[in-house]
Symmetry: C2
Subunit: 144 residues, 2 copies
DNA sequence: TCTAAATTTGTAACTATTACAGATTTATAG
DNA sequence: CTATAAATCTGTAATAGTTACAAATTTAGA
């Protein structure tokens, strides 16, 4: 449903440079993984998937990179999962659904769009996250 | 904005019994704290506020109680904060705003009400949380 | 090529949470 | 009013995610 980015090294490098991030090999790798998998991964998932290809990679680098990309508003930090943080590339506004059975997180879009809301009760809004939890389509099917 | 519950011991005890929870002194104390403060506290906040009055209280008991109350749908677990879980009494549907400056969490209500949404993309919805982050009214004022 | 700055790495420390077994309290039966 | 079983509470140890930090490496600039 959410369109795929071009995940070529060249394009990922450009994305970083546009946002003012120096495109090191590690940073390109992390962002490329996020774009390609589009799977709301944890730090651990990213690390374990990249380390076979970058044997010297450190977990700390993954943490540092995600923190930097988050500050530069290239990615957003999802607090939907209760044990670890998840990360998502910022493109068109969308919401998230997490399955309580298999823990997978899905991109969804509810009809109403409140992404334009700038303040509420005098508080200035900078980020909005709409989280839903329940049982996903696949797990519902398997229960029968 | 969200109305206060009656926080008398009698009423809190009844709330627990109605939900099928045996009303021990510790459980009454924890739920009473949640109702009275209405402040989306962490386990640590609850523990530190209660232990002066219940010197034998254990952190584990606070964890156990919150888990139980959550399973019995007396309270909900908020994943809005990125370092620890927060807890909230379940009453009328409302949303949450967290200030990135002072970290306080406020109850808010956006115009649209999607609390009746039961499924999306074939996934069965059981819980919905709408989180907003930014700078709260007080912190905005103090910046001038 | 030399030097300074930025980035990456690995370890140690820290914090939230869970596991678990023993102690205490509460409920039940005689 | 006991004796016994069940439920609850407690404290410690273990686990997991994250951060702090200094040393090593890489990159950029003179």
């Amino acid at each position: 449903m959410v369109k795929n980015e071009n995940t070529s090294t060249e394009n990922v490098k450009n994305l970083l440079v546009e946002k003012g991030v120096k495109p090191s090999f590690q940073r390109i790798s992390v962002l490329k993984y996020l774009l390609r998998e589009n799977n709301h991964p944890s730090v651990d998932t990213i690390y374990k998937n990249l380390v076979p290809y970058i044997p010297t990679l450190s977990r700390t680098t993954v943490y540092n990179t995600l923190k930097l990309l988050s500050e530069k508003e290239v990615i957003s930090t999802l607090t939907i999962n209760d044990t670890d943080l998840r990360y998502d590339f910022i493109n068109e506004p969308h919401d998230h659904f997490q399955c309580k059975t298999c823990n997978a997180i899905f991109d969804v879009k509810v009809g109403v769009d409140i992404s334009g809301l700038k303040s509420i009760d005098g508080h200035q809004i900078q980020e909005i996250q709409l989280h839903m939890k329940g049982v996903c389509r696949q797990c519902l099917k398997e229960k029968n």
